[in-house]
Symmetry: C2
Subunit: 246 residues, 2 copies
DNA sequence: AGCTCATGTGAACGACCTTTACATGAGCTG
DNA sequence: CAGCTCATGTAAAGGTCGTTCACATGAGCT
């Protein structure tokens, strides 16, 4: 039966070859299925075809694996938010809303990452690399808020960009975790999570005095400076940000 | 020390006397300490001074205990939100913001309940009693939003109350879970979670056209159904909801 | 006093996390 | 190519948990 050994060897010998990566992938799948709480180290090992002790050669413990996944998640998150922001094209408000949708899309499409990042109880501030990745992701929102704040309509006080970024983040996270994932998604809602968040952000921006009527595609480089009376409601699409005709 | 034994016996003999309640209290403490994920059934039993099998006389399994705690949490939550709302006194906007603060206060002061309710992975829709309790709590926010929507300034479209309620909920939950609890609270912020949420809600309400500061109230032919408070620009310091002078 | 049933106990099972001692073999060195 | 070394795997074992089951206890009723 030595051929058998040879064959197995070709597939995966005594040494796995890429166990670390295999474990991360397995864990990702398991978390997506059963949540970070339900995921077990032993299952990941089984899925990778190794003994239960093998993972300890690559991760100090179960938490470190989770932490690695969270970090990877923040990196992908940053990348997607950056792409959505697209440096503020075609105009700042449009791009800003696209970032919001990208946030929700990530939460929906990458439940395992999102779970590990925000719902697994992994302490972000304990691992410097993780914390840095988390901050880089947040900085995308922050930078976008910065650009938006700079466009504050004349006559109104300029809102602190950091505050705006935190507000947007909390809205997106709130909608994502309450309505857009897992069991929470089963709640009966009058509108989709995307629409809900979009309306929320638009109303918020209007509250800051930004023009939120984007119906005519902007021809100039930036949305036209706010008309003097902008805050009197001239920028409101008919019916408001909600009640969009399907 | 035999009196001690006698006393203990009087307190708890072979039969505990009030094990169910003792387990709930023990679990509450453990969850506050280590989170719902870290809480163990065995620990709760130990803390109540009974064997590991005893809890099964009162709860089908660990999840049912968690679920019970979540339900109790929603009941207390509802009660606190109701008290904060105080039927909209002294005016709708003020009361509405008080509800927001009560939300955060609950998340901060009752981390165990909040954890069980929103972060433990307990499926709300599986248990009818739990779902009902959850809905009653949400209905407080919803009712408040209803009243607020009725005050929509004349001339602007009236926002759907349900949507407003969902928006407010998502803001409160987002701020609470990102900045106000556990490790998340360690993030460095330019302002406290309470201030952050208050500003967020105020900006949002302004986006809906509610008078939250210096903006002159638009007069119209149709007087609001609910008396004078609509046009009283109370609550917000000049310069916007942020930039509060300490 | 005796019965009954809710409530608690102890033992046992399987799953998991983690550590420890040992096995294997990939890659370097001579 | 032989031999060494060390990263990477395994098996076994200890501890904790969740859960079940047969059995013990005693509170309350008749």
């Amino acid at each position: 039966m030595s051929w058998r050994k040879e064959t197995r060897r070709a597939e995966r010998g005594y040494h796995h070859g890429n166990l670390k990566e295999a474990l991360l992938q397995a864990a990702l799948g398991l978390i997506a299925e059963k949540g970070a709480a339900g995921f077990t180290f032993a299952d990941a090992a089984r899925m990778a075809g190794v003994s239960a002790a093998a993972p300890y050669r690559h991760f100090r413990d179960r938490d470190e694996l989770l932490s690695s996944i969270a970090q990877r998640g923040f990196e992908q998150f940053e990348s997607r938010l950056t792409a959505a922001w697209d440096d503020g094209r075609p105009d700042t408000v449009t791009a800003f809303e696209r970032v919001g949708r990208a946030y929700l899309a990530f939460a929906r499409e990458e439940p395992a990452f999102y779970n590990a990042m925000f719902e697994s109880g992994v302490p972000v501030d304990v691992n410097p690399a993780l914390q840095a990745a988390s901050e880089r992701a947040f900085n995308v929102i922050r930078a976008a808020a910065e650009r938006l704040a700079a466009l504050a309509p004349p006559g109104t006080p300029r809102p602190p960009a950091m505050m705006m970024a935190l507000h947007i983040w909390s809205m997106a996270h709130g909608v994502a975790s309450l309505f857009s994932r897992g069991d929470a998604a089963r709640r009966k809602l009058p509108m989709s999570p995307d629409e809900l968040l979009e309306a929320e952000v638009l109303i918020y921006l209007r509250g800051l005095g930004f023009p939120t009527d984007r119906r005519p595609p902007a021809k100039s480089a930036e949305p036209p400076p706010v008309p003097p009376e902008a805050s009197s409601g001239s920028g409101v699409p008919p019916g408001g940000p909600w009640g969009k005709p399907k």
